[in-house]
Symmetry: C2
Subunit: 327 residues, 2 copies
């Protein structure tokens, strides 16, 4: 059977869990499986768990490993997407892990690797909110704030193979400190971590909010669904904080419209999925106010359609695409 | 004779002057000519002057128009680089001018048009400071601040065909007002216009400076060479203002390294050409401090090598390249 007609694997290697899915050529998920990452046990152990997770998914689809054409993996960067090597990933504590080679030797199908946020953007491009267009920017708001760029239908990597770090555009050199050490990165304004920090500091300053009640005093529990609940209860602290986060995200998108001129900007990640209408409306308003009219014409700023499946579907699509390019 | 062996024309359509050059396949300028633009006389008049300028250059090279393979034009945008139409250019007051068709009918060679800053970046890519690499960012500091982006060896236009507006990245939403109406664009911090504004305001606030003496009281005469003279005399107002301009340019370059991940960043335009060592050193220091180490590795931040010839040489290279693609 032509490899284009065969199912592929999509794998999402996250900090806490590994997700795998068998995906048919139409993008339908035939089966899924899940394991804990347990990165503290080291790369060899994680690789064994990835292989086991993959075998579970293949079996759940009623298939043999030999039925699978290829596998794509979305992994945290920085990484070398050509050789499939994780260079040095803080949240897995992986250094120089040859993910492609190691996984290929365990599952005996060709493996292709890319940055998880790139892969999520690619998923939206092939199967989701940005299908049918050639130039896409993806922005994913979670613990951090990741970005992916598609130019002329291809993921953009640049000279370092690690471009597309949209969360680390500087929006105000006097802004809050970012995890990367700089001041005023987009991530320091609009990630869930930044939103939590602002809410905590407003509450400490005595602003009235239902958040302490919702999280029973444990501020580490300000999840996306807590934010949604508080926003929908018109909590003034959460309302103001989220609007500021959207404002800065809108400024970043405005600049990106001028720099990259995408046709579609996809907003995703847990925080956006909890409140998609708020994010899309506020970001659109600000971005279209900032960017040149010609860079806004017919541009769509939309919410992710694939949600949690963006990475596994993008990984499957990438595995399929890169196998075709290699042959 | 194969068109690849024939000379081409490079044309720089500026706000005050038209420059044309006949360029051989090695990038050697065989002849030059120059006319005033006189845009106030309207597009038809400017087009006649462009055609006359071209004929002068061809004659000065001892050639006939039939010896010329093609012509490239760098023109102010926004424009449609595929159809060669200037959409609406404030500094020429051109609206919907079919530059490609109109010029082709006057000079009888295939004409290709692109944004002047894109064309300048392309010149540095083919013949100047960025030759031999695939991913380039060009930033040109003059009255405004223009940018060009080359990705995988091709000028990046994006969905609108007008991307690469790097001067309008927002670096501080509370920053000075920009000509585009936003606050805190790169152009509002680092263009010559912004530098002049800061110097004037420091002098009005009573700061000691030799600038009033150098320009004989006429602040509109703060040219790039006046800035150079004052800086080299250790004028404290000019020193501080230029360092701030470099600081913001460095912040923008740092963000662009993270977003686009170029191999070479070329800094050009009149202000940089007057003080290349200052700009390169300061921008490099700031940008490499901001961007991720992996996006800085082996990256070169350098001054333009072609100076005033960047646009005519880039236009010639573009005319040659796009003719080859069309055939």
């Amino acid at each position: 059977m032509d490899h284009r007609d065969r199912p592929v694997l999509g794998i999402d290697l996250g900090g806490t869990k590994i997700l795998a899915a068998v995906v048919d050529p139409n993008g339908t998920i035939l089966s899924r499986s899940k394991r804990k990452t347990k990165s503290e046990k080291g790369p060899a152990d994680v690789l064994e768990r990835m292989a086991a997770c993959v075998r579970d998914a293949v079996q759940a689809a009623g298939l043999q490993m030999s039925d699978i054409a290829s596998a794509g993996v979305g992994a945290p960067g920085p990484l070398d997407p050509i050789r499939g090597i994780i260079i040095d990933t803080p949240n897995l504590k992986f250094v120089d892990v040859h993910l492609k080679d190691e996984l290929e030797s365990r599952i005996s199908v060709p493996v292709f690797v890319d940055n998880d946020v790139n892969v999520g953007t690619y998923g939206e491009f092939v199967y989701g909110a940005a299908r049918g267009v050639q130039d896409v920017v993806g922005l994913f708001v979670g613990t951090g704030l990741g970005g992916g760029v598609i130019i002329n239908g291809k993921l953009h990597h640049g000279f370092s193979l690690n471009g597309g770090e949209l969360g680390h555009m500087i929006l105000d050199p006097d802004g809050p400190v970012c995890g990367c050490g700089n001041h005023g990165c987009l991530e320091a304004f609009s990630s869930r971590t930044a939103i939590q920090r602002e809410i905590e500091s407003a509450i400490q300053a005595g602003k009235p909010s239902i958040i302490p009640e919702l999280v029973k005093g444990d501020m580490s529990q300000i999840t996306s669904s807590v934010l949604k609940k508080a926003f929908e209860s018109n909590d003034p602290v959460v309302e103001k904080t989220l609007k500021t986060a959207c404002e800065y995200l809108g400024i970043a998108v405005g600049s990106l419209l001028n720099i990259l001129s995408p046709e579609v900007v996809v907003l995703g990640g847990g925080v956006v999925e909890a409140l998609p209408d708020l994010f899309v409306k506020q970001v659109r308003k600000k971005a279209f106010k900032i960017a040149f009219p010609i860079c806004c014409k017919d541009v769509r700023i939309v919410a992710s359609e694939l949600g949690d499946d963006a990475v596994i579907l993008g990984a499957a699509a990438l595995g399929r695409q890169r196998l075709a390019e290699a042959n």
